[in-house]
């Protein structure tokens, strides 16, 4: 006699420790295997795009901090670049170089969390996570020195920065840049060959190259699938074409490749910071910008390679002091749309690993 079985719907989240915020997934299980997966967005919706419409152009900058709160500097950068494009303002050279340094530091900080939380999801309970938090803390120290806060920096302004870097910043940064490669090697010794990590991530959650392109994934998720696409090279902003760096790519598109790509990207970021520090010119950090920016009527889109992928701001101006429309192209949201295709056929335990390997921030997904 055949047993009568039926599929089982399992709710994961929104308040679940491994959802990296508040994210809800409705998984339909066949035994332990995922038969269908439905991501449910919107739990953290705060209406940031709408709020931006009633704020001055400068007043939106603190809002952008709250999108991807693990990479606030990158959000600031993408937004101010969009406004600068719209209002035809250009930042001074020194500010451009500083922006590159800060964006790359932010990439390292964000990847440290991404990798740390990912191996945590794989079962390496908090040891690597805290090792990586220690190094991230040093970056936060540097950011705190510049902007006064550790997470929501609000440091970039339209046309540059609000204040110049203090004297003690560059020596501390130099020290960080010279120490960090040693720590990355240490992570490699700790994790790269660990059999448990390999068994749990190699060949798991494969995102095929054509699918990755079709869903317009970006960032490490896309590059792990073997697509050599990086906006810093493809459409250079902030003078990224002046620096020498490689784009690390994966081959299989599995969780392990995504982890490797992030580790390699940290090394490349350090290379960029070193070059930018050497070339850093002196001078003003802000060009003369009117107190209330009033761009001519029109629209502009600026995108950057944020730690999680292509972050874009689309702004429409009606020649008033507030944006008429502000749309945010958030990399986390778009990378997350691949989740269903990546998880179907895998077990529930793998779902958490695959989900962790995408590296999302809920602040950005739901806005």
């Amino acid at each position: 006699m055949a047993l009568k079985t039926e599929s089982f719907a399992l709710n994961i989240g929104p308040l679940h420790p491994s959802t990296h915020g508040v994210f809800r997934m409705r998984a339909v299980l066949d035994g332990e295997v995922i038969a269908n997966m439905e991501p449910v967005f919107g739990y953290l919706h705060r209406g940031i795009e709408k709020l931006a419409e009633e704020r001055t152009y400068t007043g939106v900058i603190p809002l952008t901090d709250r999108l991807d709160y693990l990479a606030s500097m990158s959000n600031n950068l993408a937004y101010v670049l969009a406004v600068e494009k719209l209002a035809e303002i250009s930042a001074p050279e020194r500010a451009t170089y500083l922006r590159v340094i800060l964006a790359e530091l932010q990439r390292i900080a964000s990847h440290l969390i991404a990798v740390g939380a990912f191996v945590n999801d794989c079962g390496a309970f908090f040891t690597p996570f805290l090792y990586m938090f220690r190094e991230r803390e040093k970056i936060l120290d540097l950011f705190e020195m510049l902007s006064g806060q550790r997470l929501l920096y609000n440091y970039m302004r339209i046309g540059g920065f609000n204040q110049d870097i203090p004297d003690e910043f560059l020596p501390a940064l130099q020290k960080f840049v010279s120490q960090m490669p040693g720590f990355i090697d240490e992570y490699d010794r700790l994790l790269a060959e660990n059999e448990i990590l390999l068994a749990r991530t190699k060949g798991v959650g494969i995102l095929p190259q054509d699918l990755a392109v079709n869903i317009s994934a970006s960032g490490p998720v896309l590059r792990a699938s073997g697509v050599k696409w990086d906006i810093r090279k493809a459409d250079p902003y902030c003078g990224y074409d002046r620096f020498e760096f490689d784009i690390p790519t994966g081959t299989a598109g599995d969780c392990y490749d995504r982890y490797r790509v992030r580790i390699e990207e940290m090394r490349q970021s350090l290379r960029i910071i070193e070059q930018a520090m050497k070339q850093l010119p002196s001078g003003a950090v802000k060009s003369t910008v009117p107190y209330l920016v009033r761009p001519p009527a029109g629209e502009a889109y600026a995108h950057i390679e944020a730690p999680k992928g292509e972050l874009g701001f689309y702004l429409v101006s009606d020649n008033s002091i507030a944006p008429y429309r502000c749309h945010i192209r958030a990399p986390s949201l778009i990378n997350l749309t691949a989740l269903r295709d990546m998880t179907v056929g895998w077990k529930v335990a793998d779902l958490i690993v695959i989900f962790g390997s995408i590296d999302i921030t809920m602040g950005e997904v739901d806005r």
């Binding site: 007043g59 603190p62 006064g148 609000n154 003690e168 700790l190 660990n194 059999e195």
Partner: protein, 165 residues
């Protein structure tokens, strides 16, 4: 998955954690020991200088949250409006610092202090005298490099930790 030498990766990893046993701890026992915050810290509570304020209202207009409320006298006294009420509802303040940047008379500063939790909701609304600087409410050097220089240097974790390859 097949491994050629099963276990070598784990042993390598354990060597790293073992070495960590002999490193100096870099954590701080928080409530007893405290790190020094940045000289530009955007701490809790704004600090306001009543003698310099002209009640121009620039700060209130710059605030994205609209938490600053200013009431002035109806008629100018000695060619100057008198501030009757300067109110900051810190419950809604996001400590972005835009008001401090906007003030043209250097009369508004960010606070340097933290640990400012309150028991009652009305206590987070600061009015007039409550905003003045005092020993308990020092001002930070945010946007004012001269003030920043006078504050103690920030403790940096990078100074405490060395990596040995």
């Amino acid at each position: 998955m097949k491994f050629e030498h099963f276990g070598t990766g784990i042993i390598k990893g354990l060597a790293v954690t073992l070495r960590h046993l002999f490193r100096k701890p870099i954590t701080t026992q928080y409530p007893e020991q405290k790190l020094t915050t940045s000289r530009r810290a955007r701490g809790n509570e704004l600090v306001w200088d009543i003698t310099k304020c002209t009640a121009c209202g620039t700060c209130a207009k710059a605030c994205p949250q609209g938490v600053i409320r200013i009431v002035t006298s109806a008629k100018p006294v000695e060619n100057r409006y008198v501030v009757e009420k300067f109110e900051v509802d810190t419950g809604y303040c996001i400590f972005c610092g835009l008001c401090v940047e906007a003030c043209p008379f250097q009369s508004l500063l960010m606070g340097y202090s933290y640990e400012r939790a309150k028991y009652r909701r009305h206590e987070v609304v600061h009015t007039n005298e409550m905003l003045l600087p005092s020993a308990k409410r020092p001002a930070s050097g945010y946007m004012y490099p001269k003030l920043a220089k006078a504050l103690p240097p920030q403790t940096l974790l990078i100074e405490r930790d060395e990596v040995k390859g």
